[in-house]
C-alpha cells in the first residue's frame, strides 16, 4: 500500500517536473526576447528623454542669457548714475551763469553810484559857472565904473560871462545825460534782476524735473532688474531640477546591465546540455549559478543572488588612487 501510494504520489510530481521543464524550455527564448525588447525600449525612451532634457537645459541657458542681456539692469543703473552726474554738471553751469549775472548786477549798481557822483560833479560845474557869471557881471559893473580905463577889462569880463554861460549850459547838458544814463542803468539793473529771478526759478524747476525723470528711470530699471533677477532665479531652479532629473535617469544604465545579464543567463540556460540523474543535474546547476554570479556588475544583483533585498543605490564618493 505504502509503495503503491508512493508510486501514485511520485507519478504526478514527475509529470509536473517534466511539464515545468518543458514549459520553461519552450518559454525561455520567448522570455529572453521579451526582456531584450523591454531593455531596448527602456534604453531608447531614456535616451530620447535625456536628449529632450538636454535640449530644455540648453534653451533655459539661452533664455537666461537673453533675460540678463535684455533687462540690462546693471547698465541702466549706470546710465542713471551718469545722468545724475551730467545733471549736476548742467546745474553747476547754470549756477555759474547766475553768479556772472549777479556780478553784472553789482557792476551796474556801482555804475549807478558813479553816475550819481557825476551828477553831483556836473551840478558843481553848473554852480561854479553861475558864480563865475556873477563874478564876471560884477567885473563888468566895476569896469563900467572905471570908465575909459575899464573898457578892456569890460571886454574880458564879457567873454568870461560868455564862457561861464557856456560852462553852465554844458554842466546842465551833462546833468541831463547823466540822469538819462543813470535811469537807463537802473532799468537795466531791474531787468537783470527780473531775468535773474526767472532764471533761478527755471534752473530750480529744470533740476526738479530732470531729477523726477531720473528717479522714475531708476525705479523702472530697478523693477526691470528685479523681474530679470526673479526670472533668472526661476530659470536656474528649473535648470537644477532638470539636471537632477538627468542624474536620476542614470538608473537606465544599471537596469540595462542587469537586464543584459538576465538575457545572457536565459540564453545560456537554453544551451545547457541534458544531464541524466538528479545529482549530476544539481551539481551542474550549482556550478552554473556560481558562474552566473561571477559576471554580476552591480551590488543589487549580488544581494538578490544571495536572497537579500536589493537596496536603493545612492550617488557615492569618488575614490582616488
Amino acid at each position: 500500500m505504502r509503495i503503491d501510494s508512493q508510486v501514485h504520489r511520485e507519478e504526478p510530481e514527475e509529470s509536473a517536473q517534466t511539464l515545468r521543464e518543458t514549459v520553461c524550455c519552450d518559454a525561455l527564448p520567448i522570455w529572453s526576447n521579451q526582456v531584450a525588447v523591454a531593455k531596448r525600449q527602456t534604453e531608447e525612451a531614456v535616451t530620447a528623454l535625456t536628449q529632450r532634457f538636454e535640449g530644455i537645459v540648453t534653451r533655459i541657458d539661452s533664455a537666461l542669457g537673453a533675460v540678463q542681456q535684455g533687462s540690462g539692469g546693471q547698465l541702466a543703473a549706470e546710465d542713471a548714475k551718469q545722468g545724475e552726474l551730467h545733471l549736476a554738471e548742467v546745474i553747476n553751469a547754470l549756477k555759474s551763469i547766475q553768479q556772472s549775472r549777479d556780478a553784472l548786477a553789482n557792476d551796474i549798481r556801482a555804475l549807478v553810484n558813479y553816475t550819481e557822483e557825476l551828477r553831483k560833479m556836473s551840478s558843481e560845474v553848473e554852480s561854479i559857472a553861475f558864480q563865475t557869471n556873477m563874478l564876471a557881471l560884477n567885473a563888468a559893473i566895476e569896469a563900467a565904473h572905471a570908465g575909459e580905463l575899464g573898457k578892456g577889462f569890460a571886454v574880458v569880463a564879457h567873454e568870461v560871462r560868455n564862457l561861464s554861460e557856456a560852462a553852465r549850459n554844458t554842466g546842465k547838458s551833462i546833468t541831463g545825460k547823466v540822469a538819462l544814463i543813470s535811469a537807463a542803468l537802473l532799468e537795466i539793473g531791474k531787468t537783470n534782476e527780473r531775468v535773474s529771478v526767472r532764471d533761478q526759478q527755471a534752473v530750480t524747476d529744470s533740476e526738479e524735473h530732470i531729477r523726477t525723470v531720473l528717479q522714475r528711470f531708476t525705479e523702472r530699471t530697478q523693477q526691470l532688474a528685479d523681474i530679470a533677477r526673479r526670472s533668472s532665479d526661476s530659470g536656474a531652479q528649473i535648470k537644477d531640477e532638470v539636471c537632477e532629473s538627468l542624474v536620476q535617469l542614470q538608473f537606465q544604465d544599471r537596469v540595462s546591465q542587469i537586464l543584459q545579464h538576465v538575457i545572457g543567463s536565459m540564453r545560456e540556460v537554453q544551451e545547457l546540455p541534458a544531464v541524466a540523474g538528479s545529482q549530476e543535474a544539481g551539481a551542474e546547476a550549482k556550478g552554473h549559478l556560481e558562474r552566473m554570479a561571477s559576471t554580476y556588475t552591480t551590488e543589487e544583483q549580488r544581494r538578490i543572488h544571495r536572497g537579500l533585498e536589493a537596496q536603493t543605490v545612492a550617488p557615492q564618493d569618488v575614490t582616488f588612487f
Binding site: E43, V46, T47, L49, T50, Q51, F53, E54, V57, C243, L246, V247, Q248, L249, Q250, F251, Q252, D253, R254, S256, Q257, T297, T298, E299, V313, A314, P315, Q316, D317, V318, T319, F320, F321
Partner: protein, 122 residues
C-alpha cells in the same frame, strides 16, 4: 584653449549627463560608446583626460585602460573609471591598470567635475 575630455560609455544618457556637466565648466567633450571607438578617438584628437565606463560591448573599460597606458601619446593621461561596478576587486583591477580615480554610478555631475579639476588642474 580649452582642455579636451574623452567620455567613453555605452549608455547615451550617462554620456549626456557627463557632457553637459563638463561643457558647462568649459571643457571640450569627445564621445565614444566603447573601448574600440575610444581608441579611434584618441588617435583622431589630442585628448587631455579620459572618463571611461567598465562594462561595455566590443572592448570593456579595463582593456581600454590598458591600451591607453600602452599608447605612446597617452601613457600619462589621467583616466577616471565611471561605472556601476562597486566591488573592491574590480576597483583594484582598475588601479593596477593605471586608473587615477573610480566613480560609481549613479554619480552627481559636480563630483565628476571636481574629480576632473583635481586630476587636470587649469
Amino acid at each position: 584653449m580649452s582642455k579636451k575630455i574623452l567620455v567613453v560609455d555605452d549608455s547615451s544618457s550617462v554620456r549626456t549627463v557627463a557632457r553637459m556637466a563638463l561643457r558647462e565648466r568649459g571643457y571640450d567633450v569627445v564621445e565614444a560608446s566603447n573601448g574600440q571607438e575610444g581608441l579611434k578617438a584618441l588617435d583622431a584628437d589630442r585628448i587631455h583626460l579620459v572618463i571611461s565606463d567598465v562594462n561595455m560591448p566590443t572592448m570593456d573599460g579595463i582593456s581600454f585602460l590598458k591600451e591607453i597606458k600602452r599608447h605612446p601619446n597617452y601613457k600619462f593621461t589621467p583616466v577616471i573609471m565611471l561605472t556601476t561596478e562597486a566591488g573592491e576587486d574590480k576597483k583594484q583591477e582598475g588601479r593596477a591598470a593605471g586608473a587615477k580615480a573610480w566613480i560609481t554610478k549613479p554619480f552627481q555631475p559636480q563630483l565628476l567635475v571636481d574629480a576632473v579639476a583635481k586630476l587636470m588642474p587649469a
